[in-house]
Amino acid sequence: MARMKFLCDADRCIECNACVTACKNENEVPWGINRRRVVTINDGKPGERSISMACMHCTDAPCAAVCPVDCFYVTVDKVVLHSKDLCIGCGYCFYACPFGAPQYPKVGNFGSRGKMDKCTFCAGGPEADLSPAEFQKYGSNRLAEGKLPLCAEMCSTKSLLAGDGDIIAKIYKERVVKRGYGSGAWGWKTAYKETVAI
């Protein structure tokens, strides 16, 4: 089985935000939530880089560790998913996540945050694959259709890579070697406790 990961090649990202938009549309993400976002570091300075970021589907995920009701589970592809039926909207995953992935549909006062929502690696949720209930709660299940997350699939510069960690690391490595530079596999050290050695 694959070990699914995201890798954003920041030296290719042109901050077009198409991944952000594609994700929102593909998954019918609730108003106010962006499962994916593009952050520009050192904006306007020489050497600025833009990075597309979402849930990194961490190894030994902090959200899953701190969840008081254990609503998280890991698929065979090592995608970190959660059950909105079990989620109580306590906010603990939101405190623990290093990537700001967990978000809530309501601007959360009085415990009325609603159920947590985050990137599913386009892999749906615990409901039956491709069922209307799954789509309504979690969005698309492209993995069940044999496809990869839409954000990466439609990236115009092929900056955002999604897929088996070893394969995307190899692609990134080849690029870095060929062009002679790379700003790093953003988030990998934090999420997977390893990075792509060049």
Partner: protein, 336 residues
């Protein structure tokens, strides 16, 4: 930056022009290409530059309207996770199980503390209806808050295996709502207790004597005390200060966007958790000595009427003051 870059390229061009006449073309070529990564921001540099505190995040600019999403990586979540899954469990278990062990040990050694002179048969009013109302409002809220709070940390380990994940999630959801809403009567109760009882809880020299004599709990005899003795003052101030810490930290957790970022929420969560379990431990001791630990103590917050001999032993100076005010102890009718 633009200027320096154009100056650089000017000199580069100049070098090429001069170099053409002076040296070999190979040297000129070394100056000409621009290295696009020379000033490129790199993740490892940014991670190495992180410091605890306000500079613990890597962030930038974002073009979607949600400004909070501009934080890219916040590794501090891992420390909070370590705290919550490790230290929090340990401190909670020690505070609560440790206190229970101490109380059981104390009960086995000392037994129930009886009124030395036996009940007098007449009573004196210790707490009026309003005093008891605010005590039990706060106490009732505290019990639910404590249980629902402990459930967030320990429920997954202790309860979920017994009642299953669906039932447990439903219960935890109810507990969360109870926790969020009962926080408000709890805070009101705290404020009222502070206002009503602070005048009798100012620490003084008499409390030092009380502690020196072990409060009558450890040693023999009954140290003098006014309306509240040294131990009760300690309970009062731990409730007021601990309750205030719980209120402030809980307020930010309840209204997360007033806290100013996730790092602050992590901090307030640590405060809330630690103060919570320590106060639960303190309240276990308070509940013990106010009920099964001491004869006659529960009446103070039960009926509000305490036995005169109990009052004389534990609050001698208060009884004298009350008598001076002309309070007449009421005879109990049922006894004798």
């Amino acid at each position: 930056m633009r200027l320096s870059r154009s100056i650089l390229s000017f000199f580069a061009v100049l070098g090429v022009v001069l170099g053409l006449g002076l040296s070999s073309p190979a040297m000129a070529q070394q100056n000409a290409p621009i290295n696009p990564t020379a000033s490129s921001v790199r993740e490892d540099q940014l991670l190495n530059a992180l410091k605890p505190g306000s500079a613990a995040e890597i962030g930038g600019r974002i073009s979607i309207p949600d400004g909070k999403a501009a934080t890219l990586i916040r590794p501090a979540g891992r420390e909070w996770r370590e705290f919550h899954q490790g230290t929090m469990h340990l401190v909670g278990a020690v505070a609560i199980l440790g206190m229970l062990a101490v109380l059981v040990g104390f009960y086995l050694k000392r037994g129930k503390i009886m009124i030395s002179g036996g009940p007098a048969g007449s009573t004196i009013t210790r707490f009026g209806a309003f005093d008891r109302f605010i005590h039990w409002t706060t106490a009732g809220c505290f019990i639910v808050l404590a249980l629902s709070g402990l459930n967030i940390t320990f429920g997954k380990v202790l309860l979920m295996p017994i009642i299953g994940e669906v039932g447990f999630a439903a219960m935890a959801q109810l507990g969360k709502y109870a926790h969020n809403y009962l926080a408000f009567p709890f805070m009101i109760g705290l404020a009222l207790m502070f206002l009503v009882w602070v005048k009798d809880n100012i620490p003084g020299m008499i409390d030092l004597q009380w502690f020196a004599m072990g409060g009558g709990l450890i040693g023999k005899g009954h140290p003098k005390a006014k309306r509240f003795n040294g131990g009760q003052k300690m309970v009062f101030w731990s409730v007021i200060l601990g309750g205030a810490a719980l209120s402030v930290s809980g307020w930010y957790l309840l209204f997360p966007y007033t806290a100013g970022g996730v790092l602050n929420l992590q901090f307030w969560n640590v405060v809330h958790g630690i103060v919570g379990v320590v106060l639960i431990g303190a309240m276990l001791a308070h509940a013990y000595i106010g009920s099964i630990g001491m004869e006659g103590a529960f009446d103070a917050m039960g009926s509000g009427e305490v036995d005169l001999n109990w009052a004389r032993e534990h609050h001698s100076l208060w009884v004298e003051d009350e008598m001076k005010k002309g309070v007449v102890p009421a005879r109990l009718q049922a006894a004798e």
